[in-house]
């Protein structure tokens, strides 16, 4: 066992866990933060994606001990973080997923949304291809991804102040014109 000092969703937490436990195990089995999903426990599905210092990582492949003193954001922390930074209600990515019906069973969503959040943090106005690339590590068996990509596009459109494309009228991958980048 080892005592870990973690910074999860802005809270300092001290938790004792076996040295070899992954971040996902600590989150799900010690801290009760079950929003991060265990889809494969092997780095293949992306359902466990969380942000560590703003970068998307697979929590099932990340040792918790290596996350000490680093800022971990899980799906549970997205809304509070948004509110803390002056927003109201859910993070725009969450709001867009809700609005576009970008979910069915929802098991893949936490990971999807955190991958999307990380993308928008580093690139506020990504192209469709960039969105698809950023989500490439996240599997979804239900939705066929289309409404998920549309949701991210909606979040982007709201942020960049341009109207989103109508559902179903997406251009084929690789042909989309990049919207103007922000400085």
């Amino acid at each position: 066992m080892r005592v870990l000092h973690l910074l999860i969703n802005g809270d300092r937490v001290t938790v004792a866990a076996p040295e070899h436990w992954t971040l996902l195990e600590v989150l799900r089995y010690e801290l009760g933060l079950t929003g991060s999903k265990q889809g494969c426990d092997k780095g293949d599905c992306g359902a466990c994606t969380v942000l560590v210092d703003g970068k998307p990582v697979l929590a099932c492949l990340t040792l918790a001990a290596l996350c000490e003193e680093r800022a971990v954001t899980t799906i549970e922390g997205l809304l509070p973080a948004h509110v803390k930074s002056g927003g109201s209600g859910p993070d725009p990515v969450q709001a867009a997923f809700d609005e576009c019906g970008a979910l069915q069973c929802g098991f893949c969503q936490p990971g999807m949304m955190l991958s999307a959040r990380a993308l928008l943090d580093r690139n506020a106005c990504p192209t469709r291809t960039e969105i698809q690339d950023a989500l490439a590590g996240n599997l979804c068996r239900c939705t066929g991804y289309t409404q998920i990509v549309e949701a991210v596009e909606l979040a982007v459109a709201k942020h960049c102040g341009v109207a989103p494309r109508r559902p179903g009228s997406a251009r084929p991958r690789g042909r989309s014109r990049p919207p103007p980048r922000r400085a």
Binding site: T34, G106, T146
Partner: protein, 757 residues
């Protein structure tokens, strides 16, 4: 499940709403109306209905619109609790050990494992196995880590027994008997072989070819599993990832030695099923065994590799078609010899010919058994398998005769709905401008574009067994309760929407309680029957609640119950719309206990509300790199009728999801087992490839609004039926590469092009 296994391709009834309409009966009500403060006698005509109806589409405010899911907020914030997320005091985590061989004698020594700290149970389940992945032991520990330690500490020796894991092994001389009566089931035959053969022989274009599809996995993102909360005593709760809340209750009760009324099943949210999660399952039974022994809550979720080998699959199949086509494109005859590979199960295959009329036909369908886990229902069982060869045969024969692929389809379809749908997808995808409509494009060495088509059908419908309560509280809040489950398909939103529509409220004004066996009973979600079973029961309860509330309000509004209207959050008499009460004011007149109404799926009343029989058509556009054999799907277009859509956003999501699942089936998915070593080679998401966000093409999903039936129909199955067939046909169309065996991997494309041996 009632409609899981349709034996053939029923000709779906036409979409004409007149077929279901009954003559309208009206009656006149004498009442008074305030005109400038002066009461005047008037007569109002009201419709006399003998039961609930959806009403005219143009009048609907909630149904048939794009609704946000009511479970959206809890899901996007990570608060939705799935079975995997249940944490209880004193809970132990259980793990299964699955046999790595298709058949073996096993000895397991559990003593070392039991000595480890934190390990609470280690139980041998089986000493002789019949299928690859069969659970042979279960361990449980205070943490998942302790359970893993226990697994490693089991001393297991395997003595592999002769096995058969594929067709060749199962049908070989001297093969071991997989099932008691051998490795082949009883063939199902249909039609007259001699007649069909003669018709084919006389036709100007003929073909004989074998088409096969691999075993596919459901691959729900949440694996199968349960949490059994039993701590001794007289009651237990089972949290379960299931497609049928009520199925587990009796099974758990029996296994724990309790009565059904002492067991509660809870399915708050579940991470997908696609047909694989109907009952308690062997993993659930094992969890009960551990719980009974320890008298502690037991958490047993399958690990992903176990999920791949023991939790079901879509059977593979192999069909040899002989077919003949007349010069006008109609099929003269068709003979199909099909084998289904469902492991220990019987597999599934809709009876050939799939949907199309094919002249004189004969089919023979037989199960071939192997030492792998039994197939389970998977989204339109048997239909994608049957579609694949059928759609290919049409194209191959059309090319022989130089006929247009679209016209050939129409020539073999009696039901004109498909004609219209095919025309629509053809137009959307650019068929009429496409250069290769009657013969395939060239094997050029460069990239070539191709288009392919496929069609689908399904039954749907619903059945009895679903009941529902609607409660109006004095504060104006509305609750609808039914024990049904939401697989992600949106049933929670469906029940909410129906009640909101009835009372002229918004979705947010109604709360749905579902997923609990203490609520009114509901049927399982299989074969797209949830909508047809659930929506009439909910509507019935809502209608009863509305009538009771109208009775209650009539004297208050000084009118007759038949004239009480609920609309836009207001309640009023049709005679005096201006003297309206708000919904809250109206509810405040209720007694303290509020108003409760009950409804159920009743055969006669449901008949006016639910429908059966759907049509769909899909088209795919692909780019084939004829040098490397790589296929990229550029575009998919699908159209689907579904009667009255309840939530258009959800229908579109079903279409998108179905089409991408079939894209995945076309290009990537295949269970691989090494026949010599007997090992599962791709029991994980790294090697069993699912289509990901990068693979999705431009998607156009169209709800067929020409279908004006005032009836609800489930939508899960049909969307998955024809996509892979359309993609394989598009590859052929692009460059002449006819790959008759899915998935369409580059090596197979190159071989079909003659570029590699």
């Amino acid at each position: 499940m009632s409609t899981n296994e349709p034996t053939g391709a029923p000709l779906a009834p036409n979409q004409d709403p007149k077929a279901q309409e009954k003559p309208r009966k009206t009656r006149k009500i004498k009442t008074t109306k305030d005109v400038n403060g002066v009461p005047q006698e008037i007569e109002i005509e009201v419709e006399d209905v003998d039961g609930p109806r959806w009403g005219e589409r143009k009048d609907l405010k909630v149904l048939n619109t794009e609704l946000r899911r009511v479970d959206g907020p809890v899901k996007v914030t990570g608060r939705a609790r799935y079975t995997h997320d249940v944490r209880l005091p004193g809970m132990v985590y259980a793990r299964l050990l699955c046999c790595p061989y298709p058949s073996a004698e096993v000895t397991i020594d559990v003593q070392d494992a039991l000595k480890l700290p934190g390990v609470e149970a280690a139980i041998v389940l089986e000493t002789k196995t019949r299928f690859l992945g069969q659970p042979i032991a279960v361990v449980a520990g205070r943490t998942s880590d302790h359970a893993d330690d226990a697994l490693r500490a089991l001393k297991v020796t395997y003595k592999p027994l002769p096995w058969a894991v594929d067709r060749a092994q199962a049908l070989a001389e001297g093969a071991p008997n997989v099932r008691k009566n051998g490795n082949k089931g009883k063939p199902g035959q249909n039609g007259d072989r001699a007649e069909a053969e003669a018709a084919i022989a006389a036709a100007p274009a003929k073909l004989e070819a074998t088409y096969s599809v691999p075993v596919q996995h459901h691959a729900s993102l949440e694996t199968h599993g349960v949490v059994i909360d039993y701590r001794g005593g007289e009651e237990a709760t089972v949290y379960i990832s299931t497609q049928w809340t009520f199925a587990a209750v009796g099974q758990v009760a029996e296994l724990l030695g309790l009565k059904a009324n002492q067991v509660t099943a809870i399915v708050e949210h579940m991470g997908g099923g696609f047909g694989s999660k109907f009952d308690l399952g062997s993993e659930g039974a094992v969890a009960c065994r551990v719980a009974k022994e320890l008298k502690k809550p037991v958490h047993l979720m399958l690990r992903r590799p176990d999920e791949f080998v023991m939790a079901g699959n879509r059977s593979g199949n192999r069909v040899t078609y002989k077919a003949g086509m007349n010069a006008d494109g109609t099929l003269a005859g068709l003979v199909a010899n099909a084998e289904k590979f469902g492991g220990l199960g019987d597999g599934s295959m809709a009876r050939p010919p799939y949907v199309y009329s094919a002249g004189k036909t004969y089919s023979e369908v037989v199960a071939v058994y192997t030492n792998t886990d039994s197939n389970r229902a998977m989204r339109a069982p048997g239909h994608p398998q049957a579609s694949f060869g059928m759609e290919a045969v049409l194209d191959e024969l059309a090319y022989q005769l130089g006929l247009d692929l679209l016209e050939v389809r129409k020539a073999n379809l009696k039901d004109k709905v498909w004609h219209r749908q095919l025309e629509r997808v053809a137009k959307e995808i650019g068929w009429f401008e496409h250069p290769h409509r009657t013969k395939p494009g060239p094997n050029s060495g460069g990239k070539e574009l191709g288009i392919g088509f496929g069609i689908s059908t399904w039954g749907g419908g619903g059945s009895g067994g679903t009941e529902c309560d609607v409660q109006l509280a004095k504060d104006g809040s509305v609750t609808v309760s039914v024990g049904t489950q939401d697989l992600g398909t949106g049933s929670r939103t469906l029940v909410t929407a129906i009640v909101a529509e009835e009372f002229g409220l918004q979705l947010g004004d109604v709360v749905a309680r579902i997923g609990n066996s203490r609520l009114p009973s509901a049927t399982g979600s299989g074969g797209s029957t949830t909508t047809g079973s659930l929506s009439p029961a909910v509507k019935d309860a809502a209608w009863n609640a509305r009538n009771a509330f109208a009775e209650h309000l009539a004297p208050i509004l000084k009118t007759e119950a038949a004239l009480v209207r609920f609309a836009g959050g207001k309640v009023f008499s049709q005679a005096n719309p201006n003297a309206a009460m708000t919904w809250k004011q109206a509810c405040a007149t209720l007694r303290d206990a509020g108003l409760n109404a009950h409804g159920k799926w009743d055969k006669d009343r449901a008949a006016a509300l639910m429908g059966n029989g759907v049509h769909g058509a899909q088209a795919a556009k692909v780019e084939v790199d004829t040098l490397t054999g790589r296929v990229r799907v550029l575009e998919m277009v699908g159209i689907q009728d579904c009667g009255l859509p309840i939530n258009r956003t959800a229908v579109r999501s079903q279409l998108n999801g179905g089409m991408v699942q079939s894209l995945s089936y076309a290009l990537f998915e295949e269970r691989v087992i090494d026949p010599v070593l007997g090992l599962a080679l791709n029991a994980n998401f790294e090697d069993y490839k699912l289509a990901g966000p990068s693979e999705i093409p431009k998607m156009t999903s169209i709800i067929d609004d020409d279908d004006q039936r005032s009836a609800t129909i489930g939508m899960a199955e049909p969307a998955i039926v024809p996509g892979h067939s359309a993609i394989a046909n598009a590859v052929h169309n692009a460059c002449g590469a006819r790959v008759r065996d899915l998935p369409l991997t580059p090596d197979k494309v190159l071989a079909a092009l003659g570029r590699i041996a």
